[in-house]
Structure formats: C-alpha cells, structure tokens
C-alpha cells in the first residue's frame, strides 16, 4: 500500500485553478464558448465531428465520413451513433449505424444514410450535406453486436438500410472468423447499399450472399428461409430491417423454439396502442400543453417550443429520457401504461411515450 498523493491530482488542481481564472474573464460565458469557435473537435469539448467526405452509394443512399472529436471512444461493429444535424436551421438528432471498421488508422468513422420518403434529416444528409460541416455526436451505443468469440455459423437477415450495421461487422472481418450467410432484400440490384462490396466478398468466397430483389420477386417470406438457408435455425441470426420483416422473423424463430438465436435491431417504433392524451406540464420550464394520445411527448413539447433532449426518436437510445414526476404515459410501441406519483421520479422516453392523462415532467 502506498500513501503517496498521486501526482496527477496536483496537476488537476493547477488546471482547475487556471480554468476558474479563465471563467472569471469569460463570464457569463465559459472558456469553452470561445474555444469552440476555433477548435470544435478538441479534447474536452462537447463531442462533435467534421464531415470530411460524402460519397453516394445508391441513388438514395450516401456514406458520410466523419472525423470525430478527440474524445471519441471508438465503437464495436453493429453499434450506432447519434448524430445532431442542423436541418433548415433546426437541430435534429438521429441514430445511424456505423459502417466503418473500428480502429481505422486515420481514426475516421462513417455512417451510411438512406433517404427515406419525406425524411427531413435523411434527405438532407444524403443530398445536401457539405464537406466541412460540423455535426454533433454522441458516443457509440447499442447492443446489436456480435459476441466474443463469434459463433461458428452466422446469418444476417437484412433489408434496405438494415444492411448498415452488418456492413460494420463485415468490414471488421467477421467472415474471417465465422461461416457467414447474408440474406438481403432491396427493390432492385441497383438499390442494394454496398452491393458491389457484398458481391465481391461473395465472389471471393468470404460470405454466401442471397439477394432478394423485391420489385421483381416480391417481399421475402420468412418461410422461404427453409429453402434459401436450410440451416438458418441452427445459426445465430442478426436481423435488421423494416418492422414487418422483424415481426415475422420473431414469430418464426419463436415458433421454432429458438427465439434466443435471433437478435434484432429495430429502426422505427411500431405504434400499437395510442393513449388517450392529456395536459402535459414541464415543471421547471413552466410550460403546459395539451397532447393527444397518438403524439409522442417529445414532438408535442418541441412543437410548443420546449428545449427537449432527444436522440434516435425511435425508443432505443434513451437520449430523450426525462423524469415523470406524476401522471401517466403510454408507450406507443407496446401500449404499456406507466404511471408515477410524486417522489417516484420515473424516467420515461419522451420519444415513444404519449400522454395518457395529466402529466408533470421535470424539465
């Protein structure tokens, strides 16, 4: 045992003192407000990234390469990152799967975005993003990742932009450590994001690729997997894509009694049971609004001008969580009712919770 005062502590104190002195000069602002003007990516700053390249993948998808701030802690393939982008002057947060291999020597990361019809953020990112733009970032999140060691046989069941987290895993070399089958759906061959890359990998024998072009052959029924990938139930499967595909897959794997071999990533919430709405009060802001039972409290609050924390807007990232001091909310995905009485401080995800009665929220 040692009783020596660790040296870094003394150093921190000097730094803290300097910081406090700097604060007395910059008040009411903080030193960081000035530093952000010249070095937005420095260590210690709020995490941001600078877009260094935008490359089209298909007619409606593009890969954004980003230099993250110094405090970026890296990611595990399959994880996503929350991106805060200013669209028409308004900060919007969305979550996108990381498609770059981890530990790139140049420290760059990439996300691949598919423009969805009427998607404000995705269309902006795919079609109007300029190199040099600074975006807000969050550390990588998500448990749609492969275990270590990687299972011997793996199936990736994807559709549309659902290929993006899988691409991150392939770039990290999962196919060198496992027998990999990729079953991917897209409207046409040209719509397959990373089509060329996947086909090359298949041609080299790295993976077995089953492409489904739904414009010609229709949607993939999970029953077809029995012929396409006869051993699919014996494999560990990671599925990512539209709700319909994931729901069908969950039923299929559950019916076969091997639900534990299926891992899913959902991109959008399923609205099942709208609540009945009610008056929502943000207690610290002093704002009260009427919210209906089908609108997430996040959307209702933003429409009323409240500064709401937000993230993926689909119930996965918990970036929007706020304490419900009292009241009732309904989870828009499951219809589940959450109630709170004063003192409970139940944390709710405002992006997938609608008012189900009068609510007081600590904001």
């Amino acid at each position: 045992m040692t009783t020596t005062v660790p040296h870094p502590a003394a150093k921190t104190t000097v730094r803290d003192r300097l910081l406090r002195l700097a604060e007395t000069v910059t008040t009411p602002l903080l030193p960081e407000d000035y530093l952000d003007l010249v070095a937005p990516l420095r260590a210690g700053a709020a995490l941001r990234g600078r877009i260094v390249a935008v490359e089209p993948e298909t007619r409606d998808a593009a890969t954004l390469t980003i230099r993250p701030g110094r405090d970026w802690r890296g990611h595990t393939p399959g994880q996503y990152v929350r991106l805060g982008v200013d669209v028409d002057g308004v900060r919007q947060w969305r979550a996108y799967s990381l498609t770059s291999a981890p530990d790139r020597p140049d420290r760059l990361i990439s996300v691949t975005v598919k423009a969805i019809p009427d998607g404000r953020v995705s269309n902006h990112l795919v079609r109007r993003t300029r190199v040099g733009t600074v975006v807000q970032l969050d550390q990588a999140l998500g448990d749609f990742v492969l275990p270590d060691p990687v299972p011997a046989r793996v199936l990736f069941l994807t559709a549309g932009s659902g290929i993006t987290p899988v691409m991150g895993m392939l770039r990290a070399g999962v196919h060198t450590r496992a027998d990999v089958v990729v079953v991917h759906s897209a409207p046409t061959p040209d719509d397959v994001v990373f089509g060329a890359h996947l086909r090359a990998l298949a041609a080299q024998g790295g993976i077995r690729l089953v492409e489904r072009h739904t414009d010609r052959d229709g949607l993939l029924g999970v029953a077809e997997l029995a012929t396409l990938v006869p051993d699919h139930l014996d494999r560990q499967t990671w599925a990512c894509g539209p709700v319909g595909l994931l729901d069908a897959a969950e039923q299929h794997w559950t019916a076969a009694g091997v639900a534990d071999r299926l891992h899913t990533e959902r991109f959008r919430p399923t609205v099942i049971a709208p609540g009945e709405g009610g008056s929502v009060t943000f207690t610290r802001t002093g704002l009260t609004l009427a919210a209906d039972g089908g609108t997430p409290i996040l959307d209702a609050g933003e429409a009323a001008g409240a500064l709401m924390p937000s993230g993926c807007r689909m119930g996965i990232c918990y970036g929007c969580v706020l304490p419900l001091r009292q009241g009732a909310v309904r989870d828009l995905r499951t219809g589940e009712l959450t109630t709170a009485v004063p003192g409970d401080g139940v944390l709710i995800q405002t992006c997938v919770s609608a008012a189900a009665g009068t609510c007081d929220i600590d904001l």
Binding site: L21, V25, P28, Y34, D86, D88, G89, V90, R91
Partner: protein
Amino acid sequence: MTVIQHKPVNPIAHLSAEDIETLGKELDAIRDRVLAERGASDAAYIRKVIKTQRTLEMSSRAVLLFSLFPPAWVVGTAGLAVAKILENMEIGHNILHGQYDFMRDPKIHSTTWEWDHVSPADQWKHSHNQLHHTYTNVLGKDNDLGYGIMRVDEDQKWYPMHLGQPLWNFVNACFFEYGIAAYDLELGRNLRKGRHKAPEFRARLRAVGRKIRRQVLKDYVIHPLLSGPSFLTTLAATFTANLIRNLWSHSVIMCGHFPSGVETFSKTSIEGETRGEWYLRQMLGSANISGSRLLHIMTGNLSFQIEHHLFPDLPSKRYQEIAPQVRALFDRYGLTYTTGPLPKQVASAWWKVIRLSLPNRETARPAADEPPARVLATSGV
C-alpha cells in the same frame, strides 16, 4: 401622451370591432409567412453575430492589456463598448425572447442563455417578456412606463419627487444595467411593502448579488490585474465601455415607448382584450427609429420596436423585412406609424421626462375621476 381613452380625439374611433379583428388576422398572416421561411438563414445570422461579438470582445480585451498606450486604450475601449452593446441588444435581448429557440441548439436558447449584464437572465425575462410585453403601455400594469421612478404620462399622478426626474433619468442612463437589475427585482415596491425579508425576494436578491459580483470581478478586478502596469487605464477603459453601453441602451429603450405619438392605455381597457385589440395596442404603444443597417444592428433591431412588439419571438433581422408590410397596414387602417431618426426620438423622450417633472398645466380634467372607458372594445359604436 395621455391614456388613449382620455384624448379629445380618439385615434382609433374610426375602427369597428370587425376592423380590429381583420387587422389582427392580417398581422397573423404576416407572422405565418415569416414562420414558414424561418430557418437556416436565421440560424446562420445569429451564429455569425455571436462569432463576431466574441472575436471583437476578446480582441478588444487583449488590446486593453496594453491600455497604458493611448491608441490601445481608444481602440480597445471602443471595441469593448461595441461588443457589449452587440451582446446585450442583438444577441442577449433577442435570444432571451426565444427568437432562436426554434433552432433547438442548447447553446443558443432562451432557457440556457446568460448575458453580460448585472440582471440575471431569468429575472429579466420575467419582468420584460412576461410583464412589459404583455401589458405594454398599460398604466399601472407596465412598469416600463417610467420604471417606477419617473412620470412619463399625464395620467400618472405627480409627486414632488418627480421634480428631480431629469436627474434621476440621467443617473439611470449612466448605470442603466443596475437600474434594470433593481427594476427586475421590483426593489422599490418590495422594500416599501416590507417584503425585503420574504425568502423568495431574498433568493432573487442573492442571485443578483452573485451576478453583480461576477460582472464586477471580471471588468474591474481580473481584467485590470491581467493588464499589469496598465491596471488603472484598463479599469478606466472597462468602466467607459460599460458607461457607453449603458447610455446607448438607455437611449434606444427610451425611444421605444416614450417619444411623442405613442399611446398609453388604462388598466380597465384591456379587460377581455381580443387578439386584434392586443395587436392594436402594440401598434400604438411603440415607436421606431429610422436609420442605417448599422444602427438597426446596434439597437438589436429595437429600432423596429413596433414590429418587435407585434412579434416578439420572431428573429430580429426579420423585422426590417416585414416593416413595409406592417407600415402599409398602419396606412390602410388610418393609424400613425411613429418613427424618426435617433436624435429626434431621444430628444422627444427627454423632453417628455423634463416636461412631466412638473405637474400637468391644465388641471380642468382630473384624470382619475373619469369613468373607465372600454375604448378598444367599443370603438365601433
């Protein structure tokens, strides 16, 4: 000015109740058009102003480290004064109005912004955004009418202390930020009513104390100390910059509601006020300043006080854009759009402060005895 209800010729008597509601709808339409366009250009604008202000402030303070040299003193003081004016007027005032809340940038938001001013942002937001902007020019409700220390309307009762109000006004102008802090605290009223021991008041007082300490420490201790041999000259420089900022903002703000042509309203006239009547009161209760683009920026676009009072939460640079449309409405509805160059408006406001330091000359019409009229609501009759 006199409460509109007591005027021999009522400037809105020609408007019917329907006229007023139609006017309200036309103003709503102007607002909707701006909201539809509001976006990237407004965000880029405020970010640019903020960046310019921060660069100017830091470089001016750097120059002042050598303020022993007269040219450095002059350049640094001028730069710091401009930076402080920009920070208070075009940036602070407008962000605290929520004009940029739509951006959802937590760094530029009315709930998180703090300004270079001794009055804490949240106290100012209450007295300014909630009280002054809601009860604009209503006697007995809007304390901006003389800030509780002056008589700026014939219908305010005269007391002997008003004899000194030209002097009070000048002192208030020099130390305007402290005047505002006291005003936001409702210091006079709270002391008079013996509420100085109430925990709520004491908490607010402590908040102001903390803010003053930080501001004073920055401008009058740390910055001069960092200047080393230039200690005294830097001290004089920051004091001068604060003085210039105070005199400037006081002048601009006096021009908003005090010049001649601006109307006031009695307390009872706003009972049951409709949206259209509220708009009309804002139109008649405010005055603009005409001038160059630079003047508009330096006043935080409060030179478009009329447009600002109609739409306090629209981004300020939009006021100039919509001013011709608003003015056309004034013309069409036969109302007076009060505006003039800065020197004229400042002189007009000062003349009122001087004139009303004396009791009203014509005492034949005791204001308080008249039955309250519902002019706005019954103007069509």
